[in-house]
């Protein structure tokens, strides 16, 4: 099983939850390893849980809430709004750049 190499970026303050680093390069499995969807290609939902388990350093409730991404976070797949790409069902490809941005309110 070959790993997928992804570039992950956090912005708008989310980087504070991930070791205060904006850019992370991660290798994730290309297929799901357990559960009733074992063997299926990995998708964005998988990545979100993988990041929570493997990269998140503090206050997980500010990233995932009720098993889904917290409101107020926008996800970009290769600079495109993830809603145009299938949201959580988007199948990850090697080399993808995924960005998580928290909406800002200040001015």
């Amino acid at each position: 099983m070959v790993d997928l190499k992804l570039k992950i970026e956090f912005g708008g303050g989310l980087e504070l939850l991930f070791s205060n680093r904006r850019t992370h390069f991660v290798d994730i499995p290309s297929t799901k390893q357990q559960g009733d969807r074992e063997g299926e290609p990995v998708d964005m939902d998988f990545l979100i849980h993988w990041l929570r388990s493997n990269s998140l350093k503090e206050r997980p409730e500010l990233f995932v809430e009720n098993e889904t991404l917290r409101p107020g976070i926008l996800v970009l797949v290769n600079d495109i709004d993830w809603e145009l790409e299938g949201e959580g069902d988007y199948r990850l490809k090697d080399g993808d750049e995924i960005v998580f941005i928290s909406t800002l309110h200040g001015g």
């Binding site: 303050g13 904006r22 409101p71 970009l76 495109i80 909406t103 309110h105 200040g106 001015g107």
Partner: protein
């Protein structure tokens, strides 16, 4: 303002932009006939206002109920030491008049509220969201949808900024399309007071807001909804994102499913899960 009120010295004042392809005299007249309202005369509002006035936007509204404090002067460059304590709307109006006395400035030292939003915003063609809290951002989005006006939204915190024009053309998303629910915790929606701001980040984003508004007024905007994300310490510093179209099930602008309800009857503060802004202190 009709073409025949265009004065000879206006050619001199606006000449540098009137010779541009896509502006010319017709574009300058559109600017003179336009009405733009800036909600918030703070870090984002100050640069936006100064460039709207300098470019010759005929009527400019400024809505802000705060007064100028010393902690504002680090970034809110229309305000001065001598105007500390004055309402920001009036201080900003004073600065604009010094730059361009021919612009009509409406200084509205009111808080924007669900009760007055529709009436206050209705006279303007373009709305700039230069506010600093989630509740007012949702209120502005709903009001822009209701009134059918584009909403040029800027935001800035720490070293980061965001820019997006909502409700753009017939298909552009509103703020609720992108963020159906506000951030869960009040802490995550912290203001500049709590998280800090490098002042000039608001200068970059506020200037870009004025630019979007000018493009909309003169007809140079491509009307493709996109989000610009800025990180002063990131490389590359700017990232442009292609956005979804309007969401048919959006409670703000959609045509199907649950609607958000009348603005006047919506409790935006509770929706945003906190006590900011303090509508009660604002007289509600």
């Amino acid at each position: 303002m009709a073409a025949d009120t265009f004065r000879l010295d206006d050619y001199k004042r606006y000449g540098r932009q009137m010779i541009l392809d896509g502006i010319g005299l017709p574009g300058q007249l559109k600017l003179q006939q336009a009405a733009v309202v800036v909600v918030g005369a703070g870090g984002l509002g100050c640069p936006a206002l100064q460039y709207l006035a300098a470019a010759g936007v005929g009527r400019i509204g400024i809505i802000d109920h705060d007064v100028v404090e010393l902690s504002n002067l680090q970034r809110q460059t229309l305000h001065t030491e001598s105007r500390l304590g004055q309402p920001k709307a009036e201080s900003a109006a004073c600065a604009l008049t010094q730059i361009n006395s021919r612009v009509r400035v409406d200084a509205l030292a009111n808080a924007l509220t669900p009760a007055n939003a529709r009436a206050l915003l209705e006279p303007y063609d373009v709305i700039l969201d230069c506010t600093d809290n989630a509740a007012t951002r949702y209120l502005l989005s709903d009001a822009a949808v209701l009134l059918g006006k584009p909403l040029v939204s800027g935001a800035a915190q720490r070293f980061d900024g965001q820019l997006c024009t909502y409700n753009l053309g017939p298909e552009g998303p509103c703020y609720r399309c992108l963020f159906p629910r506000p951030a869960a915790s009040p802490a995550a929606a912290a203001s500049c007071e709590e998280t800090g701001i490098l002042g000039v980040v608001t200068g970059v984003i506020g200037s870009l807001q004025a630019l979007e508004a000018i493009k909309l007024v003169v007809g140079l905007h491509d009307e493709q909804p996109s989000l610009l994300v800025y990180g002063a310490l990131s490389a590359p510093p700017f990232r442009s994102v292609k956005l979804r179209k309007r969401r048919v099930s959006c409670p703000g602008c959609g045509t199907e499913g649950q609607k958000a309800g009348e603005i006047e009857e919506t409790d935006y503060v509770r929706f945003c899960g906190g006590a900011r802004p303090d509508w009660e202190a604002l007289g509600l």
